[in-house]
Symmetry: C2
Subunit: 337 residues, 2 copies
C-alpha cells in the first residue's frame, strides 16, 4: 500500500487564536513510524484543554505552521508500525494522554499515535462514550477517588459543574456515596445538573456561594473542593471548605485574576491547595488501570453515563469550539467523524 497515494482530512491551525483559526485540511496520509499506529477516528470529544491549547494558553504549546489539535478521541486501528505488537488492525481504541498534541493531535478523520498512547476500550461503550472518558472521567477520578479518597457522606463542591469534567465529578461523587454540590452560573442548568446526580445545585448568579454551601453543610463546609476556575476565587473556596479539607484545582479557567492565597484562614483551617493534572494518572500504568476499571465498571452498571450536550459533524469543528466557549453547554461536546 503506497500511503502517499492517499489523503486524509485533519484539523490544523497556523496561529494561536479564536475558533476561526481552525481549518479542516486535506493532507497526504502521513508515514507510519515503526512504533506508531494509525487510527480511523469515529468520534472525538472537546475539552477546555483544546481551546486553551488553540489560544496557546495551555501547558503544552502548538508549533506552527500546521499544528494539530485534540486529545480525546476514539476509533479503530487501521495500520500498525513494524514494531507494534500490542495492537492489531481492527482494535477499538481511545487516545490516552501525554503525547505531543501539536504533532499527534487526534482531531480529524485519522490520527497517528505512538502505540503506547492507544488504549483498548470495552465493547459496551459507543465511540462517543469512549471519546468522553479519558479527560473527563479520569481527571475526576484521579482527584476525588485516588488522591482525595472521597467517601460515603463526604460533601464535595464541584465548580464549573456543567462541563464534561464537572458532570463526571458529580457522577463519580454520587457513585461512591458522597454528596455532590454542583456550582453553576445559570439557573436554566439546574434541572440537568440534578438529573446528572447533583444532590444540591448552587446558582451563583442568584445565590451567595459561601452562604449556600455553609447552609447545606450545616456550617461545616465541604471536605473536598474540585475546582476548575480558581483565579479570583480562593477566598470563597477557603470559606466553604471544612477544616483540614482539600481544594483540588485542575483547571485554570480564570487566568485574568491572580490566585491569591488567603493566608490566615488557610493556615487556621489547615486547608490544602492541591494542584492536580490528569497527566499524572496517564503516566502511571497502575493508577491508570485502576482508573479505567472504576470508570468502565461505572459505565457498565449505569452509575456513570456520558451527558452529551451537542454533537457536530467534523465539517463543523469550529462550531463545536464555539459551543465549548459559549458557557451554555451542559456536558460533553462531541464530534462524529
Amino acid at each position: 500500500m503506497t500511503q502517499n497515494s492517499k489523503t486524509t482530512k485533519v484539523i490544523r491551525f497556523d496561529a494561536a487564536g479564536g475558533p476561526e483559526v481552525l481549518k479542516l485540511e486535506e493532507i497526504p496520509l502521513p508515514e507510519l513510524a515503526a512504533d506508531e499506529v494509525r487510527i480511523r477516528i469515529a468520534a472525538l470529544g472537546l475539552n477546555r484543554a483544546d481551546s486553551m491549547f488553540r489560544r496557546n494558553q495551555y501547558v503544552l504549546e502548538p508549533s506552527f505552521p500546521g499544528s494539530r489539535i485534540g486529545t480525546d478521541a476514539a476509533g479503530v486501528v487501521e495500520a500498525v508500525g513494524a514494531e507494534v505488537t500490542a495492537l492489531k488492525v481492527g482494535d477499538r481504541v481511545t487516545a490516552g494522554l501525554g503525547f505531543d498534541v501539536s504533532r499527534y493531535g487526534t482531531h480529524g478523520e485519522t490520527a497517528l499515535l505512538p502505540a503506547g498512547f492507544a488504549i483498548g476500550y470495552p465493547d459496551f461503550l459507543s465511540p462517543e462514550e469512549a471519546a468522553s472518558i479519558n479527560i473527563p472521567y479520569v481527571t475526576a477520578w484521579g482527584a476525588l477517588v485516588d488522591q482525595g479518597a472521597l467517601a460515603e457522606g463526604d460533601f464535595v463542591l464541584v465548580t464549573a459543574a456543567s462541563s464534561g469534567v464537572g458532570i463526571a465529578a458529580v457522577q463519580i461523587a454520587k457513585a461512591v456515596g458522597a454528596i455532590p454540590i454542583a456550582v453553576t452560573r445559570r439557573r436554566e442548568k439546574r434541572p440537568r445538573l440534578f438529573e446528572a446526580g447533583a444532590a444540591h445545585v448552587v446558582v451563583t448568579e442568584e445565590e451567595d456561594l459561601a452562604r449556600r454551601v455553609l447552609e447545606i453543610t450545616g456550617g461545616r463546609g465541604v471536605r473536598i473542593v474540585f475546582d476548575a476556575v480558581f483565579g479570583g476565587m480562593p477566598e470563597t473556596l477557603v470559606e466553604v471548605t471544612a477544616p483540614g479539607g482539600t481544594i483540588f484545582f485542575y483547571g485554570a479557567l480564570d487566568q485574568e485574576k491572580p490566585a491569591v492565597l488567603p493566608m490566615f484562614p488557610t493556615m487556621m483551617k489547615e486547608i490544602r491547595f492541591q494542584g492536580y493534572v490528569v497527566y499524572s494518572v496517564f503516566g502511571d500504568p497502575e493508577r491508570l488501570a485502576r482508573a479505567l476499571r472504576f470508570i468502565y465498571d461505572g459505565f457498565e452498571s449505569g452509575r456513570l453515563k456520558v451527558v452529551v450536550d451537542r454533537s457536530f459533524p467534523l465539517a463543523e469543528y469550529r462550531e463545536a469550539h464555539r459551543r465549548l466557549e459559549s458557557n451554555e453547554q451542559i456536558g460533553r461536546i462531541v464530534v462524529t467523524v
Copy 2:
C-alpha cells in the same frame, strides 16, 4: 491568704505597635477562678507570634487597655482553683496553646491559666528549655513528622531557618534521618546553622535559592518545604519542590506581598500548599501526647537541643522584642524571671 494584699509584675500594652508599647506593670495579684491555676513563671520564650500579636497582625487579637501578651513560658504552680484536680502546687508546667492571650498572656512574673492549658514537663528540662518547646518544636513536629511523614533520605527545605521554629525543624528533620536544607539571608549565620544540624545552608543574599536547591537535590527538588515567609515566594518554592511535594506554610512573615499561586507549575507538578497551625496539635490530646513524647525523647537523648540566641531579664522585655525583630538572632530569645 488574701490575694488582694499582694501584687505581681506583668507585661501589658494598651495599643498595637512596636516594642515601645510594652510595659512592665505592677498589678494586684488577680483572683483565681475555680478552674484556673496560677503559675510563678521562671522563664519565657519569644516567638514571632508575640510580635505579630503586639502589632495586631496575628490571628488572635489583643483587647485594650491592658492586653496581656505571651504564650511560651515555664514555671511552677503556686495556687490552684477550687475545682482543679489534675495539678497541685509545686508542679513544673509549661503553657500550652489555644488560650485567650489578651487575657491570659503568660509573660510576666506570674500567669493565670485555665488548668487545661498547663502541661507538666519532665525533670531533665530546664525552665529555659521547657519554655522553648511548645511553639518551636511542636510546630515543626506537626508539619514535618505528623502531617508530612518526613522520612529518612527526604530533602526538606527550611526557610527562616535561624528562628526558634526553623532550628527546631532542622533538628527534627535530622533526627528522623532526613536531609535539612536551611535557608538564611546572611552569610554569618552559616556556621551556627551547620552546627544546629543543617546538611546544607543556602545564603540568599549571595546565592540563587532555586539554583542551589536544584543542585543539592540533583535537579529533583525537595519533598517538603517548611516555610514561614510565604508572601512573594510561592513561585520559587514551587520551583524547588519535587513533583508531588508539599509546601507547608505555618507563618506569614511577609504580609506585604500577596501570596500568588503559580497555577500551571503547581498543577503540573501536583504540588500541595498546606496551611498549618500548631493550634491543631494542641487541640487534639492524642496528637499532642505523640508530639511531646517525640520531643521529650529527643531532648533526653540529645538529638534535640535548644539553641539560645540571647537571654534577657524581665525588666528588658522590650529589648527582647527588639532582638526578635532584628533578624540578627539565631535560635531562641529567652527571658528569665
